[in-house]
């Protein structure tokens, strides 16, 4: 069906003698159960479909790029969309651009066949497992949750005879577990995408979430400290590193003269090696190709603390005379932006337990309210939702409220320790890391 759709669009483009074009189709199937407390309350089945057309008009050393999004498949509407796209490409002026050529693409598997065969059955089994485990937890009450299974099919074709297709499966899980005693309330509220069924690991997760919810019931505000040592979990680390470091290492931030990083600069402690890997098995953003059809690859961004390589999409690679690194991301509007695929930080040699035992006084952050650092400066300040105060090498007491503030660019230079344990968190595979010189206030 998808091929028929793309053929129809391409045939219409060809009748209009357009030389440089790209068609990108995306079909999504979503199966979701939403829970009220521990009972299913909403069952949803969603079919969604979009197509994006990009047309180029070359203008000497510049290019006009038109982008149109739609989902109407009758020929009249397709024809109108193509005409609009041509008009946009004539009016737009941007730096030189051409669509990627045909290249060798890694054939990695990003769909679970059992899900493709029986998505509703798999979702229902997972819901049953999740709810049974939630109900088993002592001392916590479920308030609500969502479990969603996604099947995403993408097809890309351009005028350079690039034809690519992929099918991806992944999950979304949200659950809130509440603890209550003597009128005091606390919760652990998790929201996260998971690429693989094995990553869900409900038994371990639900027990951990329940423990954190119960611990938070007796949480105290953190003791203020100006030069605090703070441990970030892999999940928290993703929220800090991807928006800031992911911004400063792109060809776009370099070209726009906003990047804080120069090649060969010492940007992190020597223990930090950061890799962008669009082929990472289990990474949420993994695929053989990026949003515009360039092959995904593994790029060493920071090696032993030294900035090595920028990440390029096609546009910024051309602008800087470099090769694209597979870092063109398709936005929901249909355009391409220069971003990261999956980030990976090489693990250290210390266990998390030893990392904690080496800290005389510090803080362990399980979850912030919203860690949303400002990407250019790297500054952040976030309220602690779930965490622990570390005293004499032990998690001494749970903490809540109060703020941790600092700067992500500086944090990278103030890393004290990297754990040997690593965990997936959406499009990252990160260890636990401790940092010095952060500000904890209450």
């Amino acid at each position: 069906m998808k091929n028929e759709k793309i053929d129809l669009i391409e045939d219409t483009i060809k009748t209009k003698n357009i030389e440089e074009y790209e068609i990108y189709l995306i079909e999504k199937k979503i199966y979701e159960t939403m829970f009220l407390k521990s009972e299913p309350e909403v069952e949803r089945e969603i079919e969604d479909f979009d197509y994006f057309i990009r047309i180029l008009t070359q203008k000497g050393d510049q290019t006009g790029v038109g982008v149109v999004k739609g989902n109407a498949m009758d020929s009249k509407e397709i024809g109108k969309n193509i005409d609009t796209c041509v008009l946009l490409s004539k009016n737009n002026i941007t730096s030189k651009y051409r669509f990627p050529e045909k290249k060798s693409i890694s054939n990695i598997i990003i769909a679970d066949n059992s899900i493709l065969k029986d998505p509703i059955g798999i979702k229902n089994d997972l819901c049953e497992e999740l709810i049974s485990l939630v109900k088993d937890q002592k001392g916590v009450i479920p308030t609500f949750g969502r479990l969603r299974l996604h099947i995403k099919e993408e097809l890309l074709r351009n005028s350079n005879e690039v034809t690519l297709e992929s099918t991806k499966t992944f999950f979304y899980v949200e659950y809130s577990l509440k603890a209550e005693r003597n009128g005091k309330l606390s919760e652990y509220w998790n929201t996260e995408y998971f690429k693989e069924k094995e990553h869900l690991n409900f038994k371990k997760r639900i027990e951990e979430w329940a423990k954190i919810a119960k611990d938070t019931l007796i949480a105290e505000p953190p003791k203020p400290k100006k030069d605090a040592i703070v441990i970030f979990t892999p999940h928290v680390l993703r929220q800090a590193i991807i928006p800031v470091i992911g911004f400063h290492v792109t060809g776009q931030s370099f070209s726009e003269k906003i990047s804080a990083y120069k090649i060969n600069d010492e940007v992190a402690t020597k223990e930090i090696t950061l890799i962008d890997d669009g082929l990472l098995a289990g990474g949420l953003s993994s695929n053989g190709w990026d949003g515009e059809g360039n092959p995904h690859q593994k790029t060493e961004v920071i090696k032993n603390g030294i900035f090595q390589n920028r990440l390029y999409d096609q546009k910024y690679a051309i602008l800087n005379g470099e090769e694209p690194t597979g870092n063109g991301i398709r936005s929901i509007f249909g355009g391409i932006y220069n971003g990261i695929s999956n980030f990976q930080i090489k693990p250290g040699t210390t266990s998390l337990e030893d990392m904690i035992s080496d800290i005389k006084e510090g803080y362990y952050i399980e979850k912030f309210s919203w860690l949303n650092p400002e990407e250019i400066s790297g500054n952040f300040g976030a309220e602690i939702r779930n965490g622990y105060y570390i005293k004499n090498g032990e998690l001494h007491n749970p903490i809540k409220l109060g703020n941790v503030s600092g700067n992500v660019l500086e944090m990278m230079k103030n890393c004290l320790c990297i754990s040997k344990e690593v965990e997936f968190s959406e499009n990252s595979l990160f260890p636990y890391m401790s940092f010095s010189n952060l500000n904890v206030s209450f």
Binding site: D48, N91, K257, I258, N379
Partner: protein
């Protein structure tokens, strides 16, 4: 989805809605379409993206629980009937509301669809060029213009036959200043249920001020950490009303036993000078509409009157469970997203102080300016609201400029410590708000200036 006139959609929806008897089960069906133009420009990039029309249909039935199907092809409409089974005697599982009819389009002063694309691009390029010439320390400027039209057609088996078309526009201008290794920015934003007239508000003075504000950020210092008297500008006031307080009033949190406000109805939750409202009926505000995505007529909701909590925010399901009157807060991001009870335009009513008096009354404190982001904590009643910048107040005077400031702490304690609200007209800023991490809907929030004693702040 293939192009259909709304008459054709009305006819199909009426037939399918009537085939589910209300006495047996509740049923509704929604057509959702969005068309948009997005233009962005920065130092190395100019993008123009037109969504000519993205549309879909979602239908659902309530028989004790919801079952919901969404499709993007009109030809698949029979799938809805196959997937949503007809049952008997389940109609009373959810409260019945009276059906009504409406067919309304909000007409912007200047319809963006009638403005040629080259005229729109010229505006964006002119803004960009002007900012880049302002000062050599402006190293980049991002200009972002978005216009979009949302059409929603809603039918149910209670007799609702509704259609609305709503235009929305937003304009961001972000000049980025850099000197040495310090880079920072401030921004200009405007948004609302308006059309191309959004550009009329931006003259050279506006651009000069925006560029200068970014340059001023180069001198900004870190704010102090701890408990101080603070003043929130109208944007930050709105973030407190919406993020910190309003999310805890969404009645799904109440029936989940997940709201710290559940037991507070008719109790004092804020200082008695506070009145907080939510209203989808404010002219030109981003969160305004005629009916919600469950066919409920939009109405003003006084949430807090003189510091006393008066009401929650309901969708059909929660209004039914709590025997309340819904005021049109059941909203979806699109046909592909579920309904939740959501805020619309949420704001503090003005008070009777002047801003000058409020500043004069502070020996050492901070003004938080230009909302940046906030996050809800409906169960714990904590808060995290960050401003882009601030100003120190020393001995009753505004002095140094400060970098981003985060306001945190306990929401109710903070609301009780509000000791002054400025007079004047309410300012509403528009944006998109998620429920947790997703399901984004257009909302407005605002008020006037408020002053809070002993508020917990730190660098943001």
């Amino acid at each position: 989805m293939s192009e259909k006139s709304f008459d054709e959609i009305f006819s199909v929806f009426e037939e399918i809605s009537n085939s589910y008897k209300r006495s047996n089960q509740y049923f509704d069906i929604l057509y959702d379409s969005e068309s948009s133009t997005l233009i962005t420009k920065s130092r190395t990039s100019e993008n123009i993206v037109v969504n000519t029309k993205k549309s879909g249909i979602v239908a659902r039935t309530f028989t004790g629980t919801w079952k919901e199907i969404a499709i993007t092809e009109f030809s698949n409409i029979k799938k809805i009937e196959r997937k949503l089974p007809r049952v008997v005697n389940m109609g009373k599982k959810i409260k019945e509301f009276e059906g009504w009819s409406l067919n309304e389009e909000i007409k912007p002063k200047i319809n963006p669809l009638e403005v040629p694309i080259d005229e729109k691009i010229k505006k964006i390029r002119d803004f960009y060029s002007y900012m880049m010439k302002f000062d050599e320390r402006i190293i980049n400027t991002e200009v972002r213009y978005l216009e979009y039209f949302t059409e929603r057609i809603f039918f149910n088996n209670e007799g609702c036959q509704l259609r609305q078309v709503i235009p929305r526009s937003s304009l961001f201008i972000i000049p980025i200043a850099k000197e040495g290794v310090v880079a920072d920015f401030d921004y200009y934003i405007d948004s609302g249920e308006i059309g191309f007239e959004i550009f009329d508000k931006v003259d050279n003075n506006t651009l000069d001020e925006t560029a200068q504000k970014s340059l001023d950020m180069l001198q900004a210092e870190l704010p102090p950490s701890g408990k101080y008297s603070v003043i929130l500008d109208p944007g930050m006031t709105g973030v407190v009303a919406h993020e910190s307080f309003g999310h805890g009033l969404e009645a799904d949190q109440v029936i989940r036993n997940r709201s710290y406000l559940k037991a507070k109805l008719n109790q004092q939750v804020a200082s008695e000078i506070c009145t907080i409202c939510d209203s989808p009926t404010m002219d030109n505000a981003f969160g305004t509409y005629f009916f919600d995505d469950e066919g409920i007529k939009a109405g003003k909701n006084v949430l807090v009157k003189d510091g006393i909590l008066k009401d929650f925010i309901y969708d059909r399901r929660t209004a039914s469970a709590l025997n309340a009157i819904p005021k049109g807060n059941g909203r979806r991001e699109s046909f592909a997203h579920p309904v939740h009870p959501r805020m619309t335009n949420t704001y503090f009513e003005p008070g009777d102080c002047s801003l000058e008096e409020m500043i004069e009354g502070i020996k050492y404190g901070v003004i938080l300016v230009h909302e940046y982001f906030g996050m809800e904590d409906p169960l714990g009643g904590g808060m995290q609201n960050t401003s882009k910048k601030g100003y120190l107040i020393e001995n009753g005077e505004k002095t140094k400029i400060l970098k981003a400031v985060t306001l945190s702490g306990d929401v109710l304690e903070t609301l009780h410590r509000i000791d002054a609200i400025s007079k004047g007209s309410i300012e509403i800023d528009g944006g998109r708000c998620g429920k947790g991490d997703e399901d984004y809907v257009p909302v407005g929030s605002g008020g006037t200036y408020i002053r809070i004693k002993e508020a917990l702040i730190s660098p943001g």
